[in-house]
Symmetry: C2
Subunit: 434 residues, 2 copies
């Protein structure tokens, strides 16, 4: 990680330091994903089995995980079972507070309000790969449950032997998910968006994935009969703000935790203390030797930067400009600086709050906006699994009070059928001599 | 409007009746819009002036509405000025209740919460055309103000003589919008998403438009450096549920108000009373003769249907399946049926609540999900102009309480740098002998 002095950089260099790796407009990828989606739309299950054989190397007779397979959950260690249940408890406790509240207000002679309803059918994508991403399952299923979504369709790529990890199945069961399907990649997203003989169509698709999954989510969200998606996605990222009192070992460990995700992961340290910057570099070197994913970490760190700036105001300004997915504050009285945060996915305050706690078990959601999208998107919570419906009811007097306003504005816009809908009611009221 | 008996239809016919006009995958449109967006990205203002000349037939020296032009607002009638101000009052009153509330909770030794921040820069698109859509401006600007968005960039197509309607300028001023630019169509959306010499880049773009605007919004929302958008859009639509006590003239007037929007508008009446169905048909014929946009109305009504079903439960089931943008309840004790509404944009309850009041001045927002998107999207409110940021702060004890859970789950996922960030803190705490 290079160390740069922010004040010595011109605005162009400053922008370059904070710019993300350009997400390539990959035409080949886009065409391939489009072909996969069309094939699934037209041929349903048979296309899904074809892609499972081709990309996951498995031949299956059924996509749905059956009751026998759930029996494998007993092989999961008691420690892991308890960790999953503890995480569910904490995630539930936090997400309870994010349930959107209906309201009703009476304003003059109008009753107005908003009610929230679950999205009835949701698709949850849990990535596979080298390790089962149990935590992602929890971050999707717990809020979907609290929202009250009636159908939760979970898809996850099977292992080479056609199985799904006991940890995933245990977590699914603990979250009350009854339908787990063995499916991964773009074809899984197509199935969730359009349905097939086996897979029910869903209205909104949640969860992270590789570039095929990400592209497929974008494509189905553009299709008028497709599905909505949680948010667009880029590589994971962290920005740490640290002062002279920060513990360099802690800071380094948080940067490394981010870097191990992906060689494209972005890691930025902004510090008001040059000495700390140097100590963190040493710690990065030292700690990374012990880590199993060091080859990924080193690739991620090459593109990463330590920014020195003498004052915290500038540090927060840099952070808000970057709009990190994760923002870690390792500064004295960190909690008092929350008011300076304008753009971030989730904030980790103080030395005993590593990002890893939010990834797994503090209770907040770890599906967060990346790539600067924190400027306009929120991370997941229960509201992501619901939609609001506004309503209004006017009494006769209520209509008489605002009728003229509506008539005038309708005329201004040249919409006389709109005006007429009010005028003939007002005439009726006049006849009735209210 | 044809009358059909729901019970006599087979499931395929039922689905057909409720299906929307297929939005065409218009390849030519998509290519044209892509070209326009690229031209604006590369050539900025000069491309914008080029398209103004080409599509709006105006030659301008400046895109920004200047102070002199605001003087034209004095030509607006006092009645119109008061109507606009009254609408702003009502829209503000309702939208106040939709401001998302930050929360903070202490759970064991963890402080967790969520704060809401305005999206700093927002783009507001107000369509032009034959009449100034003042109401759309209010529906975008009022919640943007309540959210606290710092930069509100409003664009609207100029008239042929290069002016912007006094009503639009009066409303903009009343909403405290300082930057109004003369721009329309796909190029306006490109400018809001990427910026130009004159137009500041924004993070999220709001507002309805024609097919070029809609396509451009979709395209810039897919671009990794583009902008988010409020929601995808299709033609406007209404579904009315009416029983034997409904006033056929009122029901017809609401159907006509919807039909005058667009020849592609969709209008459905579901009624438990065959006699009412016939009376409504008569009223449609009678009232439409008097309406200036009858040519549009007749085109819309051709595709529209009156569905007869003897029971209200089925009527609500049809409505939830269709998921209308606007749902009007003209039934006895209408307010008691709100609990049966699961998918709709906005609900209009009872005989004195024509849809037109919500379009203009009851207070709710009229930018609502169309095309069945009410199954997964909400209409606009203040939360659409903000984003939530979660946070957490653990005390030393808090970390000790959940540390083992996090370590276990990180190991399960094979992410040992995540585990390490917790382990070295726990070790430090042990040394400190808390």
């Amino acid at each position: 990680m290079q160390i740069v002095n922010w004040q010595n950089l011109d605005p162009i260099e400053q922008r370059r330091i904070l710019s993300r790796t350009q997400l390539q407009d990959n035409h080949e990828l886009s065409i391939l994903v489009k072909t996969i989606i069309e094939n699934v739309r037209q041929n349903g299950d048979s296309a899904l089995y074809e892609y499972l054989a081709k990309y996951d190397g498995v031949k299956l007779n059924s996509l749905l995980v059956n009751q026998e397979e759930y029996a494998t959950t007993t092989t999961l260690s008691m420690e892991a079972q308890q960790a999953i249940l503890a995480a569910i408890d904490n995630i539930s406790a936090y997400h309870q507070s994010t349930i959107p509240q209906s309201f009703n207000l009476e304003h003059k002679h109008r009753k107005l309000g908003k009610i929230y309803r679950p999205i009835e059918k949701v698709g949850l994508y849990v990535p596979g790969g080298t390790a089962p991403l149990v935590s992602t399952l929890l971050m999707l299923a717990v809020p979907a449950n609290l929202a009250g979504c009636q159908e939760k369709i979970l898809v996850t790529p099977p292992n080479r032997d056609g199985t799904v990890s006991p940890a995933i199945l245990f977590a699914a069961k603990a979250c009350g998910i009854e339908q787990v399907y063995k499916l991964g990649g773009a074809s899984a997203i197509a199935a969730l968006a359009f349905g097939s003989e086996s897979i029910p169509k869903t209205y909104k698709i949640f969860g992270p994935g590789n570039k095929y999954v990400t592209e497929a989510k974008l494509q189905v969200s553009q299709h008028c009969n497709g599905a909505a998606i949680d948010m667009p996605a880029g590589p994971s990222e962290v920005l740490v703000i640290a002062d002279k009192d920060a513990n360099p070992a802690f800071v380094a460990s948080d940067l490394l935790a981010q870097a191990e995700h992906d060689s494209a992961a972005q890691v930025i340290l902004v510090t008001t203390c040059l000495n700390l910057a140097k100590q963190v570099k040493q710690q990065l070197h030292q700690q990374s030797q012990q880590l199993s994913r060091n080859h990924i970490i080193q690739q991620a760190l090459v593109k990463s930067t330590i920014i020195y700036t003498p004052d915290l105001a500038t540090a927060f300004s840099i952070s808000n400009q970057y709009a990190p997915e994760h923002l870690i504050l390792q500064i004295a009285n960190a909690e008092t600086y929350l008011s300076m945060v304008h753009n971030a996915g989730s904030v980790f305050i103080g030395e005993w709050t590593p990002e890893a706690v939010g990834d797994y078990a503090s209770g907040t959601n770890h599906v967060l906006p990346t790539y600067g999208y924190a400027k306009m998107y929120s991370g997941l919570d229960v509201s992501s699994f619901m939609k609001g419906i506004s309503y209004q009811q006017l009494s006769a007097q209520g209509l008489q009070e605002i009728g003229a306003t509506v008539e005038c504005l309708a005329s201004l816009e040249g919409l006389d059928a709109h005006r007429n809908a009010v005028s003939l009611r007002l005439a009726e009221l006049k006849n009735k001599k209210f």
